[in-house]
Structures are given as C-alpha cells and as structure tokens.
Amino acid sequence: MTVFPFLPTLPLTLSYPLLFGALLVAGMLGGEVARQLRLPRVIGYVLVGFAVAPVAAAMQIGPLFEEARIFFDIGLGLVLFDLGRRMDLSWLKRDWTLAATGFAESLFAFGLVFAALTWMGFAPLMAGLAAAIAMATSPAVVLLVAQDARADGQVTDRALTLVALNSLLASVVVTMLTAPVHYELRLDLDTAVLHPLYLFAGSMAIGGAMAWLARVLARRVERNPELHFTLVAGLVLAAVGLAQMGKLSVILALLALGIFVRNDPDRHVLVNVELGRASRLFYVVLFVITGASLPLSAFETAGWAALVFAGARAAAKFLGVIAIAPMGGMKWRQNAALAATLLPMSSLALLLLHDVVRIYPEFGQKLAAVVVAGIIVMELAGPVATQWGLRFAGEAAPPPAPGPAPKGQAAKGPAAKPAETSKP
C-alpha cells in the first residue's frame, strides 16, 4: 500500500510513446549536427543511436532493437514500400542494361564476398548467407540521402531501381538458403522445402492482396491526395502487421506491395502520394534504433575480416556497375556515381541478419560479428559515398546562391545583354 495511490509505482516503466518521442527528438538533433558538418543527416541519426545504446543498457531497458521492434518494422515497411513503388518493371524491359547492371552488381557482390569469406575459412553455407546479405544496399539510406540532397536525375532513378532489385534478390537468396539451413539442422525435408516456399509465397500474397485492396478502396473514395495518403499509410501498416502475424518476411511483403502498386496497369487509380514528412518520423527512429543495435564490440571479434567483407562488397558493386552500365549509354562519371550510391548497408542488412540468426543460431558469433562490423563500416561510409555520388553526377540540388543579386546589368550596355535565347 502506498500513501498516495494515485501516484505511479516505482520503478517507473518506460512507455512506448516516451521512447519514440525521445528517440525522435534526439535523432533530429543529431541529424542537424551532421548537416552542419556537411555530412548526410543519416550519420547523425546513427551516431545518436550509438550514444543511446549504453544509456539504454544502464537504464535496464533491455536491447532497444527488441523493445522498439515495432517502430523499426514500421519504418522499414514504409521505406520498402516507397522503394518498391519506384521500381518500374516496364523500364527494365525498355532498357535491358539496367536490369543487367542490377543482376551483375548483386551477383558480383555475392560471389566476391563468398570467395573472400570461404578463403578466410568460414563454412560455405555460412559464407553464402553472409554473402547474400552483402548483396543488399540500404534502401533507407539511399532514399533519405537522395531526399535530403533533393537529387533528381538518371543516377538517382537508376540507383533506387538497383537498390530495389538488390534488396529483392538478397531477400530471395536468403530465403532460399534457409532450405539447406533446415536440412543441416536435421529437420525433415518437408520443412526445408516448405518453409522458404511459405516465406516467399506468403509475403508476396500479402503484398498482392494489399495492392488489390488499395485499388478497390481508392475507386470508392474521392481522388484526393490526402485521402489516398491515409489509405496508403494504413495499408502499409496493416501489411507490416500481417507479415509479423504470419511470421513472414516484412521485407518481401512490403517490397512486393510497392512493386504491385507501381506496376499494375490500373495504377493511376491510386494517387502517387508523397509519404514525405510522415515517414520521416519513422525513418529517424529507424536509424537511431539501428545505431543502438550495432554493438561496436563486434570489431573486436571480427577484426580485419570485417574490412575484407566490406572491401570485397564495395569492389564488387563497382565492378558490376562498370561492367554493364556503360552499355546503357551513360557517361563514365554517371556510372562511377551510380556505383558509389550502392554502398550503404544498414537496417535491411541488419534485419536479414536477425532473421538468419533466429533460424540458424549456429550462424556463429564470429561471422555475425563480421557482418555487423561490416554494416557499421558501411553505415558510416555508405551515406557519405551516396551523397558524394549524387553530387558528382550533378543531381543534388545546388545550394542557394550566396551573396547579393547582380545589380543593374542593363545599364552596362550591349555587352551585358542576355545572349541569344529563343525564350520567350
């Protein structure tokens, strides 16, 4: 019995809204510090996460990643939906070099990382799982850096399509590799075959069903961006929830939802709403949690292997792009920039790793540490590479022109006249 029964009992329990709000504000502040240093905001969010982790541990909140998994999944769900929506299959048909570039860079990344890891003595199946994770580029980082740079152009559009493609390939390969994992764990053959099949077909079915529902409902309501925004946001959240309930892949389900929405012949029924500010809230929290769940101690376990993992992956992405993309008529500068934008690794890789470890605890302390340490390297170097790429390609919006406006040009005589233009 307490003296004042209306007071909360001690110790206080942390409520989710407080956790979300605190991470949001802290992340925002970190992002602004990064921007002042001319770095991508994403780096600020992640560094705040690094700082928050020990605080959370001291407060005995437990692993933040588990506590706040729901925010993480919603954030990633929004990212993947947005990314899927940018994957235009008809473009891949019109320009075969784009699809070929995507397959080449993903395959090279798999091959080179697999070779490097087996050379370092890791078992083939484990090396294969790690190599499959290495195929994926972080969609959240590329989307957010492109958004912050207000980038627009071929490199930006192609980068996002390639990220969608390699995220999809990585998820599919990881799913397929769960079959031999089950087999190795001496489970029956049925599980080994049916589990990956269930993951794949179930996730696609959720994506397809939600896309269908979106169009059906969109036809019933007024064609108004605000209404359609609410509809899309609601269905994305529902898809995340359904995927979790069904123990399916959030990644595949949401990517599929985006791709179905974009590529249906009736797609114009649904307004192409900007998720913009609303999704930014979840993106910030997504990166803070990602940062908080990346233990820096992984470097001690992983050692040089982490750098080999990250280095092999980066080299492969460059080789894959440089091998095919020039055939698409892009300039070398654009191709170099495109390869650089594909370097980030972040929450998607972390989630894939998480799924792998859950199914396959024997994945091993050591290899998990190598992948985590590799993610940490690319979590920091990746956004810088992407920002550099978008600027190098000339697609980032120029900063507002400094200094006073030019004055009185007309008074200087004909030399100061506007040169030929057929405008107006």
Partner: protein, 388 residues
C-alpha cells in the same frame, strides 16, 4: 551597322516546338533534358533537338518545308525518336503550354553560358519561364515584306492563341484562362509587338536608336509576339502554346502559311496604328475566353466573336489552301473553331474525369506519344505499299 535581311523563298515554313520532359512517377517536370539530349546526339532524327532555358525542357527545330504534310511527317519521325530515347531513361515527353502543377523554384537552369546569363539578368523570371510554345517561321523575299507581314499578322494573333491554347492549369489550379502561358511572356521588358515602322530601312533606324541606348544588341533581345528574323529571312510567330499533338502543330503552321500567302497576294494598305490600339485588348480576350472572345474591330467599330472571325478567314483562304496542299489542315482547323474545341478543352475534360492533375499529364504524354500513331518503320511501310 544596319541589319541585313537574308532573303528566302517566300511561304516556305518551319516550326520550333518546346516540349516538357517529365518523370513517369508522378508526371512532374524532371531535369532529364541533359540526359535525353545526350542520348539523342546519336539518334538520326530529321529535326534538330536543342536545350532550352531549364533542364525540364527541350526544343525541336524542324527543317524548312513547302507543304504541311511533309512537315507533319518530319515531326512524327522526330517525335518517335524522342519518345524511344525518353523511354530508355524512363522519362516521358509531352506537348502543352505549361505544366499544370510544377513548382517554378524547383527548376534548374540548363548550364550553358547564355542561359546562365539570362538567369543572372532576369532572376526568378528565368525559371518561371519554364513554359512551352510553338514558333512558326514563314519565309519572305525581303525585309520590307517581313515588316508588312509582321504588321498584318498582328490582327490574327487571337486566332493562334485560341487554336493553340493548351495551358488552362497553372500551379495546381484552373486559371479560368484558355492559356496561362502568355502571362510568363508578358513579364519581360521588351515583350509586346513591333513598333509602327513602315519598311526595313525604317526598322533599321529604330533598331539603331535602341542599340544606341544600350538596350538591345541583336534581334533576339526583342521578345515580341511576332518578329522579323533577318538571319533566317522569315517572320516568326511566337504566340502559340505547344499543341498536344504534332498534327496540331503542323496544322497551325499550315494555317499561318496560307494566311501569309493571302496577305502577300492581296496587299492591305490601311496603317498598322489602329490595329495596335486594340492589340492588347484582343490578345487578352483570346487568352481568357478562347473561341468565345469578343474582338474589337477598329475598322468597323464593332465587336466580332473570335470563332466567327476564324470561320470567315478560313472561307477567304480556302482557295489558297487547296493550291498549297493544306485543304485538310484548314478543314480540321475550321472544325475545331466550329465546335469551339481546343487542347485546353481536352485537358479540362480529362481533369473532370480523372480529378487529378498528375493523371492529366500522364494522359497528355500518352496523347503526344500515340496521336497520331507511330510512323511505320520503312520495311513495314514498303510492305503496306506493295499490298496496295
């Protein structure tokens, strides 16, 4: 030093078309022009394709023609080439006088020396100037004819406005105008019409005086609705929005050609001054009301409905049209005027159906791509000829 007027074959003609470069995600303007132009450098197109002031525009320059059907054929082939190249970049291209919902401050100046100079001088007007027009060139024998024809054509400016109008929406709203594009043009200091000079010598005296004030350096500094173009030996009619189809563009050029033929064959003698008194008013009426505009007729001191004026003019030039092989174009223009239907009405109807401007632009791009359908490839065309 006087401007030299380079003579050209009278009544030859050609067009310039400014086109939108769009993304295919939400059909907003993109900054795809540099990539599109780089890709088109390798394509063998009959017309020239050039950059314009912002990276969201390209300009097609046709070659010189005598018959409109040949012009249309060239434009169709050029269109197909541009559409193919744009498809590889996942971009779309469309006609129309202005983009219905883009934000001017998001545009980026195409980085050539001259466009950067224009941008430095005109500030936000340069980006605001992301609007899309059709310019029609008509060949004339000498500078005196160019001055004469420029004055006489001024009376018909409302015709071209109503027939080409394709920019009813601006910044996400219906402007209630048939064309909103012309407001962006009027903001420039040397916009309007040519002064009332009588002949080419007279024009040169005027030009020298303006030049001595340090206001102009070349003809290009005059942003008039119609202007002589001495280096091409043409007059250039710059009032029209870019139509939604290449057919529309070719037909309007044919109308200008036949009108010029009639004005050169039956010389008018009344002075230009009175026509210019009502010029601004009539121009506004046409922009606002299209075919329903009530034009002031300074000779008769009455008003005439623009639709009726176009139909009467078509009656007058029908014979010339047949001689010049433009009968079908004139019939189609007469039909549009009779039904009071232009590209702006088409766009408003699509908006009624779709309820969303982004979808209107999607349909606009589809119309540009598919109407008329793609030119048959040469072997296919040969097979069809053989089958006949």
């Amino acid at each position: 030093m006087p401007l030299e007027f380079k003579p050209s074959e009278p009544l030859t003609f050609g067009v310039e078309l400014e086109l939108m470069v769009l993304n295919t995600r939400d059909y907003n303007l993109s900054r795809g022009a540099p990539d599109l132009l780089a890709r088109l450098e390798k394509a063998k197109l009959p017309s020239e394709v050039k950059p314009e002031i912002t990276e969201s525009m390209i300009e097609v320059n046709s070659t010189v023609h005598t018959r409109y059907d040949r012009l249309q054929e060239e434009l169709e082939r050029t269109r197909d080439g541009i559409v193919d190249a744009a498809g590889k970049l996942n971009l779309a291209v469309a006609g129309g006088g202005s983009h219905p919902f883009h934000k001017w401050n998001e545009r980026r100046i195409f980085a050539t020396e001259r466009f950067l100079q224009v941008s430095a001088l005109y500030g936000y007007l340069a980006k605001q100037f992301t609007v899309f027009g059709q310019h029609i060139h008509i060949g004339v024998a000498n500078g005196d004819d160019a001055v004469y024809l420029t004055h006489q054509m001024a009376r018909y400016i409302p015709h071209f406005i109503a027939l080409s109008a394709s920019s009813p929406f601006y910044q996400g709203e219906d402007t209630s105008f048939e064309t909103s594009r012309l407001h962006a043009v009027s903001a420039f200091p040397l916009a309007g019409h040519m002064p009332e000079v009588d002949n080419w010598d007279d024009f040169n005296r005027y030009f020298d005086e303006m030049s001595s004030y340090g206001i102009v350096a070349s003809m290009k500094d005059f942003y008039w609705d119609i202007r002589p173009k001495p280096e091409f030996g043409t007059i250039e009619i710059r009032i029209g929005d870019t139509p939604l189809t290449v057919t529309g563009a070719a037909q309007l050029a044919a109308y200008a050609q036949c009108l010029a033929a009639e004005l050169l064959a039956n010389r008018r003698t009344e002075p230009a001054a009175r026509q210019y008194l009502v010029y601004g008013y009539n121009r506004f009426q046409a922009c606002r009301f299209g075919f329903g505009a009530m034009l002031a007729d300074p000779g008769a001191h009455t008003h005439v409905r623009l639709r009726d004026d176009i139909l009467a003019t078509l009656d007058r030039i029908r014979g010339i049209g047949e001689e010049m092989g433009a009968a079908e174009a004139l019939r189609s223009i007469g039909d549009q005027a009779d039904r009071e239907s232009n590209d702006s009405s088409w766009l408003r109807e699509r908006f009624q159906e779709a309820g969303d401007l982004s979808d209107v632009v999607r349909l606009q791009a589809r119309r540009w791509r598919e109407d008329p359908p793609r030119v048959k490839t040469e072997p296919e065309a040969a097979r069809l000829r053989a089958a006949k």
